[in-house]
Every structure is written in structure tokens, then in C-alpha cells.
């Protein structure tokens, strides 16, 4: 099989159907090979563009590997304390009700340190969109157990695998938020296959539309690969996600105020 020249665009008639990335990404992110977080970032920013929100959006970014996205996102951003993004987003949205406000948080950030913040913000019905990058570990600190680590998963602080007796059970935060009055839209996606990437992008779009419609807090939980924190190779990431995480965290729309109203 001959190898095609992929150094330059095709010379014949052709239509560009996918860019390297949106212009809202200013450069390289520096995350690990095979990490799912940059994929989530890309579809998030593409959505803002498609919804024409680029010049009326404020992002609030927590602490985790995605924290370094602040350096490459061409969006107004508050980099906030670990776990507190929903509270900060509340203050922002209340003072700038005409903007679209989102948080970008990991499972450690949202389901460990800031569990209270997101549930309270949901109950208050704050019109903000929370994007959760759930990889079931603290990636940034090297792969320790979080509140969403699935049973059996080995981490640096559950060396024999997470055991319910010793380490407790994982929390399905999207289900909790969906059950709270004040939530507008809650869904769970993943980025382990092209199909899920596309679907998840739709979920994100729905969430922002829900925010713009003033339905209350919207949350999109995105399962992302963390080969480094899972101690698997990068190519094995998507399958590991599929086999271990989606069983514990089924994908789909969990709550939609507008859909339920119809």
C-alpha cells in the first residue's frame, strides 16, 4: 500500500471538512499522549463558536490537568480555586446575566473537593453550564483515587483496586444533579470514539441552549481517557473507558427541563 502525501493540502478539487482545531485554541496544550481532555476542550470551544457565543462567554476553570487549557483558550477566563467553579460562576452570571458562563472541572475538582458547590448551584438553579471531565482519577497529581473511581480500578491510593468495603463506592454526580430541582439539563457523554465525540458535542450544545433559555443549571459529564492515571497505554485508553467506566456511568441525557416540558 502506498503512503499518501499528507504534508500539504490536496492540489485537486477538494473541500476542507475538518480543521486541525478551532481558532479559539491558541496553541499546544502539553497534556499526555492519548488524553481525552483536549478532545473535550475542542468540542466545547467549537460549540461556543457554532452558537455564536464567542464574544459573550466567560469560562471558569478548576484545578486539574485541564487547568493548563487556560493558556490556550481564547475566551475570557477565571481560573478559580479547586472545586469552587460553580460558586464563582454564580457570582459571574449574576453580575453578567447576558453572558454564557461555563465551568470546566474534573472529577477530582467537582465530585471530590467541590461536590457541595455543584449541588448547591444546581439547587439554586443558577443559569450556568458545568462541564465535567470525568476520568475517575486525579490525573494532575499522578493517579490517585477520586470519588468517581470505579470499583476495582487500581490507583496509587487503592493499590489493589478500589474495594467498596475499604474505599467506598463511586458517586454518579450527574444522576444526583439531575435529581435536584433547579437543574435544567443533565447529560453524560464520552470521547473514546469518534461517534461519542460527535454525540457529546451535541450534548454540550443542548446544555448551552438550556442555559440561554434560562432553565437552570446544566451539566455535561464527559468521560475522558487518562491513560497515565489508569496505568494503561495510550492506545488502550478508549477500550478501558468503554469497559470500566461506561458500565458504571451510562451515557445519555439524564434530565432535560425543556424536553420534559414538551
Amino acid at each position: 500500500m502506498s503512503v499518501i502525501n499528507t504534508q500539504t493540502p490536496p492540489t485537486g478539487p477538494a473541500q476542507k471538512v475538518a480543521e486541525f482545531h478551532t481558532p479559539l485554541i491558541l496553541g499546544e496544550h502539553g497534556l499526555c499522549p492519548g488524553c481525552g481532555e483536549p478532545v473535550a476542550l475542542r468540542i466545547l470551544l467549537e460549540t461556543l463558536q457554532e452558537l455564536n457565543l464567542v464574544q459573550r462567554t466567560i469560562g471558569v476553570v478548576g484545578h486539574g490537568c485541564y487547568g493548563s487549557f487556560v493558556r490556550i483558550m481564547d475566551i475570557d477566563v477565571l481560573q478559580c480555586l479547586h472545586g469552587r467553579a460553580p460558586a464563582c460562576a454564580t457570582g459571574i452570571k449574576r453580575m453578567r446575566p447576558d453572558t454564557a458562563v461555563f465551568t470546566l472541572q474534573g472529577d477530582g475538582d467537582m465530585v471530590n473537593e467541590g461536590l457541595q458547590e455543584v449541588i448547591h448551584a444546581a439547587a439554586r438553579g443558577e443559569n450556568v453550564t458545568c462541564i465535567l471531565l470525568n476520568n475517575g482519577v486525579f490525573g494532575d497529581t499522578g493517579g490517585q483515587q477520586t470519588a468517581t473511581t470505579v470499583l476495582g480500578q487500581r490507583t496509587k491510593t487503592s493499590l489493589e483496586g478500589r474495594d467498596a468495603e475499604k474505599h467506598g463506592y463511586p458517586i454518579r454526580i450527574a444522576d444526583i444533579v439531575a435529581s435536584v430541582d433547579g437543574a435544567g439539563y443533565v447529560a453524560r457523554g464520552a470521547v473514546n470514539t469518534a461517534r461519542e465525540v460527535m454525540r457529546t458535542k451535541r450534548l454540550i450544545r443542548n446544555a448551552f441552549e438550556s442555559q440561554l433559555a434560562g432553565e437552570g443549571l446544566s451539566l455535561v459529564e464527559i468521560l475522558t481517557m487518562c491513560p497515565t492515571g489508569w496505568f494503561v497505554t495510550a492506545p488502550d485508553g478508549p477500550d478501558y473507558l468503554e469497559s470500566s467506566m461506561t458500565a458504571a456511568y451510562p451515557l445519555g441525557v439524564l434530565h432535560s427541563r425543556s424536553a420534559e416540558a414538551n
Binding site: 481558532p23 479559539l24 491558541l26 496553541g27 499546544e28 461556543l48 463558536q49 457565543l53 464567542v54 464574544q55 459573550r56 462567554t57 466567560i58 471558569v60 487556560v70 493558556r71 490556550i72 483558550m73 481564547d74 475566551i75 475570557d76 477566563v77 477565571l78 481560573q79 478559580c80 480555586l81 469552587r84 460558586a87 464563582c88 460562576a89 454564580t90 457570582g91 459571574i92 449574576r94 453580575m95 453578567r96 453572558t99 454564557a100 457541595q116 458547590e117 448547591h120 439554586r124
Partner: protein
Amino acid sequence: MSATAPVAEMAPLELLEGSTAIARAAILSNCRFFAGYPMSPFTGLLENMAKLMPAAGGVCINAESEIEGVNMVIGAASTGARAATGSCGQGIALMQEAVAEAALNETPLVIFNMARNQQDYFQCTRGGGWGDYRTLTLAPKDVPEAVEHTQLLFHLADKYRAPVILYGDPLIAQTRVGVRLAAPDLEPLAPKDWALDGTMGGTGKSRQVWTWAMGKVTDPGLGPDGHWRAVADKFEMIAAAEQRWESAYADEAETLVIAFGSAAKFTEYVVDELRAEGHSVGWFRPITLWPFPGAALAQATRSSRRVLVYELNAGQMLDDVRQFVHDRDTVRFIGGVSIHESGLSYGPLLDAPVLRDRILAAMAQPTER
């Protein structure tokens, strides 16, 4: 020096509880976001804000905890709004991470520490958050001054892009006094071109509020090393520029009594009485707890033979007095821990007759020089 936020003298005198007066002063200072969690004696301020904010077109949120409250306020302030929170003791302790954050990412906050007593001097002046930051802290001696300080604090927070603290107490929160309220008339400030409004997305110049100040790959910032040094330099600048104090009879008194906040009001009262009786005594009052008016204290104590420190705690301001007093050997502590049996206010040591006795007892002791 006692720089003040000039308040129109012509405003009518109103009998207001401290908490109400402070809330109204804050709103007159254009505070438009407040979030707080009840805790005595801060609760009254929260209740007043909840009542008054809507009519002012602002927002007051029943934050579900102090941590959420202060972080909401960081969010609100990051958009350029004037925003405040408050609590006391344990509640302020819970905010320390966020106060340090605000100092290091340079969001202006006003924090009303309506403390139960004077045991939180270290909490206000040394923070205990993380990193090199300080919090400008004003300690009013009574309600009218609390009004003035409130207005000044919103101004200074914006001027320096830093969190600042009002150190109040139950006497200030709960006493009703005649006060005059008007919008403050303070020097104009630079526009907040750093504030997040969402408009700069996609321009390559989108804004960041970030403790680490890393900037963007296309336009790197100072990063933690450079930025934190710059912030430390800013605090050194504030330390030099914003020391406030007042004192009386320092040059003509053998004994100088140092006190802050409500205790200073008691001190002033008792010293006046003692002077009227012919005693050689004066007083010195730090108005800013940080920056501590060290040079002024050194000057004020140049000829003192006895420096008495009266604070209602185990001796926290002592750390600052000892650093700056002209002669450390002249310092005596005449304060102490004193808690009301309810746990929520001062005990019997904050009282003019007690203070009087302690000063007289100290004056009966031989001096060091």
C-alpha cells in the same frame, strides 16, 4: 494620620444599628453583590443586605456556606462588580484559601469580619491562607467610623485590586447610633479594564484572572515567580502608603496605652478620665491593623516610659508592637482573653472600670528606664 472617606455632613442623622449602617454604607459605595452565611454577630449585616440589595438593583445570595459565599464574591468581583462577604471566627477561617486567592489573582473583595471579640487579630493580619499576601484591615472603634471605613474599603480594594477587611465586633454590629449616610466622595479610580465581561473571546486578547498569571501561549504572563514577586511588591507599597493611626498625648505622657477597635474607644475614654485626674498618660491606636503603623508607633513611644497593650485576646497585636515600639522593655500587656458566657461576645474585661484599674496598677509598677 486618619485619612477618611469624606461623608456629606448634611445627610440627616439616623438611628441605625451598626449592621444596618454598614449595609447602607456598602450599597452607597456601589456594592452590588453580597453573599454570606449567618454567624453571630455578622448575621445582622447579611439580613440587612438581603433586605436592601434588591431595591438597589444588586444581588444578595444566601450562600450555603462561607466557602461558597466568598467564591461567589470572587466570581462577581472578577467581572468588575463591587462585591463583599463577611462572617466571623470560624467562618472567616474557612475563607482563608479564597482570601489568599483573591490577593494573588488580584480581585478586589471587601470582607466584613464582624468578629465576636478581638481574638482574630492574627486571622486578619497574618491571614493563614497561603503564599505571600497581606490583607489591609481597618478596625473601626464605633459605628460611625465603621460606616466611613466601609466606604473607604471598597475604594481601597479597587484601588489596589486586593481583598480588604473590616474588623468589627458585636458592639459595632449591634449598637444603634445616630449616623449620617451619603455616597462617599473619593478620588477617581482607573477603569477596570482587567475585568471579565466575555467580550474579548476570539480576539487573541481574551482576559484572564489567574493566580499563577501564566498568560497565554501566544502572550505569556509573568508566571508564578514573577507575578507573586510583583504582588509582594504591591503589598510592600501598600504597607508604606496606607498606615493609619491616631494617638493623643503621646509626647507628654509617661504611660502610653495601645489598643485597637472598640478597645481603643474604651481606652480613649479612660485615658481622658485619668488625665483629667492629673495622670501622665496617653494613647495610641492603630486604625489599620495591617499595615501596622510601625513608624508612627516608634515615634509615639520615643519618650514613653511604659507602653501598655490593651487587647481582648492573649496578646496578638503584641507581636506588632514589639516589632516597632521604641523600647521593647517598656511594653506590658494589660489585656487578656475575655469571652461572654454565650461565647458570642466580650467578657467582663472590656469595661472602662476594669481598664482603669489595670492602667493604674501598671502605673504603680516601676518603669524600666
